[in-house]
């Protein structure tokens, strides 16, 4: 974010509790001190006071003040905001504006009014934060045309995809993960440059393999790689694909892999019904890769319940590495 703020003056950040609190999860720490009040706007802890400014294709821009209520008329502005939700659970209070005001506007205006905005923040289960704070919104947002939905796993993903999201002229929902914030990763020389971007809409094969394709996003990519390491010792070679973008989904990469391995397992933290895995199944079935499947696709998902608080229950509500291993073996019939 620092690099993008430096690069383009129209980019600015709206974060809850950023100034003296340093941002609830410290992601924007230091930015306020560097850029000041104009570029870094601190919102009190209310989550729904989201100011959205965008630039139109033609002559000017618009300002929309959002809340669950009426929106103000458009003025000229021309800015590129980054709005942080303390977690995406709170985005439900502003979701009307994310969908109806951000996602659909370019379409409804027949090209007059683009919305270059990024909504970012932690998504999905954390640790012990119970039902109202643990929901995964990947499927909810990815359902809507007009939005791009991105879900990084490691540091390179986070940096490259966020820069692309900020430079993107359309609304992007950027789903981070609280438990990943503190996890360090090695970063390549190339990824440390100020212009390092990762294209939105392209998945990455994190680990090549020949027996089964395992597709995941966000934190669970790490779980899949761990499972793959265990299975490699038994002679099962998994091809692990990191989706990186949920919408538009890189189905071609998945298809190419399935046509090689003949088996597919999807892994996600969210609930099963109408989820990311369900969409992957449908798309594979509709495309050329269907004829290459030797077994039905298996979805590994969160348990279909609100998230419980007690540790033992919470641990059993999300996919474990052993669940992934079990599912892969069942799919391979071994």
């Amino acid at each position: 974010m620092d690099e993008e703020l430096e690069r383009d003056e129209r980019v600015f950040l709206m974060v809850e509790e950023v100034a003296q609190y340093d941002g609830a999860l410290q992601v924007s720490r230091g930015l306020w001190k560097k850029y000041g009040d104009k570029r870094i706007s601190t919102l009190p802890f209310l989550r729904v006071r989201i100011l959205i400014m965008w630039r139109s294709g033609g002559s000017g821009g618009g300002l929309l003040l959002f809340k669950t209520g009426p929106s103000l008329p458009l003025f000229q502005a021309g800015l590129r905001p980054i709005c942080e939700f303390m977690t995406f659970n709170f985005s439900m209070q502003a979701i009307d504006q994310v969908i109806n005001s951000a996602a659909k506007t370019y379409y409804m205006s027949a090209g007059l009014q683009p919305v270059p905005i990024v909504f970012r923040g932690p998504n999905g289960a954390s640790a012990g934060v119970a039902a109202q704070h643990s929901q995964c919104f990947a499927a909810w947002y990815a359902h809507c045309p007009g939005l791009k939905v991105v879900s990084p796993w490691n540091s390179e993903d986070a940096k490259g995809l966020l820069k692309s999201a900020i430079r993107e002229d359309n609304p992007v929902v950027f789903l981070e993960n609280e438990l990943m914030y503190g996890v360090p990763f090695e970063m390549s020389e190339e990824s440390q440059s100020k212009d390092f971007t990762i294209p939105i809409g392209k998945a990455k094969v994190e680990r090549p393999g020949s027996h089964v394709t395992v597709v995941s996003h966000s934190r669970l990519v790490g779980h899949c790689l761990d499972a793959a390491a265990v299975l490699a010792k038994e002679g099962i070679e998994c091809e692990v694909i990191n989706l990186r973008t949920i919408r538009p989904m890189d189905v071609e990469s998945i298809e190419a892999s399935v046509m090689k391995t003949n088996h597919l397992v999807t892994v996600e933290g969210g609930w099963p019904q109408f989820g990311v895995g369900a969409e992957i199944c449908a798309r594979i079935m509709e495309g050329p890769a269907f004829n290459y499947l030797d077994a039905p696709v298996t979805r590994v998902t969160g348990v279909d319940i609100p998230m419980p608080y007690a540790k033992i229950l919470e641990d059993h509500s999300v996919p474990q590495i052993k669940d992934i291993i079990f599912s892969i073996k069942k799919t391979l019939n071994v």
Partner: protein, 370 residues
């Protein structure tokens, strides 16, 4: 009747106290004099001290990582919970946000069940499934995690009271941070239009997470924010003020005049939650000053002592009893087993035949009972 009271408690003195409050669209406020009997004083002391010790124990357990996730502590604000409970009936209803342990206690849940819920055990009031922010009891609707969302719910509960004609009311609590939420104003509007028996209470502890009220609100007169709804503002550190204001508000609602807004000026000693040290946006001196000059428990104790309503030994004895109660509750909370795995999927639907729930993969077929 007063005469009986004098005879029964001849050792105590009747105490009168001035209660100052600011009024909005009200001709008159709570009575200028409030009576405190010895029994009441001891009861309020016990309630507040129990909440205080319980919250400090929770702080300890959190630092030992026995409590996880979110933990928003209430120490400093005890007079609000104790005073409100003293001003309403047990059959009235109450709903609050996530800083809810104090209210869970005043609404009838034992310290044992509260701490066991915080530690995620099956003996917890929500069987370990809710955690800090999701505790419930008869006539107590939590414990709500999303800022402000509980206020329209509170107005709805008040609607149910009106609909059923049972002369009950609903106390709908929120903080200074939530006070700027649009959904509150929607709730105010409907409550006023339909004259719902709802007391909207803002616990103004001066900080919404790390944002002070001056930086968050264009108007910090939270008791006036109901606009067309009458309001009053009192000292939330004084349990008697809170009680009298609540009684006044309750009478207002029960007499069919509609909703009323109350602002309690209070303070929290801890940060917003256990992950907030609470000193990056306010000074330690400020916290210390409130502790030494306006602590609700000390204020009540000193008042009772200076009027010979109880002795130092009696307070000491109560403190010892309370410490013991909290210690035993903590023992239970750390030794009680976690909920059994077959409870994982229960309680999805009410009054429903058993249903099958998908586990983490298609071969995990779990069972859900109502």
């Amino acid at each position: 009747c007063t005469l009986t009271t004098y005879i029964q408690t001849y050792l105590s003195h009747q105490e009168t106290k001035e209660s100052k409050c600011d009024l909005h669209r009200l001709e008159e406020g709570p009575p200028e004099k409030a009576e405190l009997t010895r029994d009441q004083g001891l009861q309020y002391y016990r309630t507040m001290q129990t909440i205080r010790r319980m919250e400090l124990k929770a702080d300890q357990l959190y630092k030992q990582k026995i409590i996880r996730g979110f933990c928003h502590l209430y120490d400093g604000q005890e007079a609000c919970a104790a005073g409100i409970e003293a001003g309403i009936n047990p059959t009235d209803h109450l709903i609050t946000a996530y800083r809810a342990h104090g209210y869970t206690y005043t609404r009838g849940v034992s310290v044992k069940e509260i701490l066991a819920e915080l530690t995620g055990r099956k003996g917890g009031v929500a069987k370990g499934k809710g955690g800090s922010m999701h505790m419930y009891a008869p006539c107590f609707y939590g414990g709500n995690g999303i800022v402000g969302a509980q206020v329209p719910l509170g107005a709805g509960i008040a609607l149910a009271c009106q609909y059923q004609g049972n002369n009950q009311l609903c106390v709908s609590l929120y903080g200074d941070g939530a006070a700027n939420q649009g959904q509150l104003f929607e709730a105010y509007n409907m409550a006023a239009l339909w004259k719902l028996p709802c007391i909207f209470i803002c616990e103004n502890n001066k900080y919404g997470m790390g944002t002070s009220v001056e930086r968050a609100a264009a108007s910090t007169d939270y008791y006036k924010r109901g606009d067309y709804i009458p309001g009053l503002r009192v000292d939330g550190m004084d349990v008697l003020c809170v009680r009298e204001a609540t009684k006044f508000a309750a009478d207002h609602c029960r007499s069919g005049k509609g909703p009323i807004v109350m602002e309690l000026q209070t303070y929290r000693y801890h940060g917003h939650s256990m992950s907030d040290p609470g000193v990056s946006y306010r000074t330690r001196e400020e916290i210390q000053e409130v502790r030494s000059k306006s602590d609700p428990i000390s204020m009540l104790k000193e008042r009772m002592l200076s009027h010979n309503m109880a002795s130092v030994e009696e307070f000491k004895e109560m403190d010892v009893e309370i410490r013991k109660e909290v210690e035993e509750a903590a023992q239970f909370a750390t030794s009680d087993p976690e909920p059994p795995l077959d409870d994982l999927c229960n309680h999805i639907f009410y009054n429903n035949p058993p249903l099958e729930v998908r586990g983490t993969h298609p071969w995990a077929k779990l069972k859900s009972l109502s």
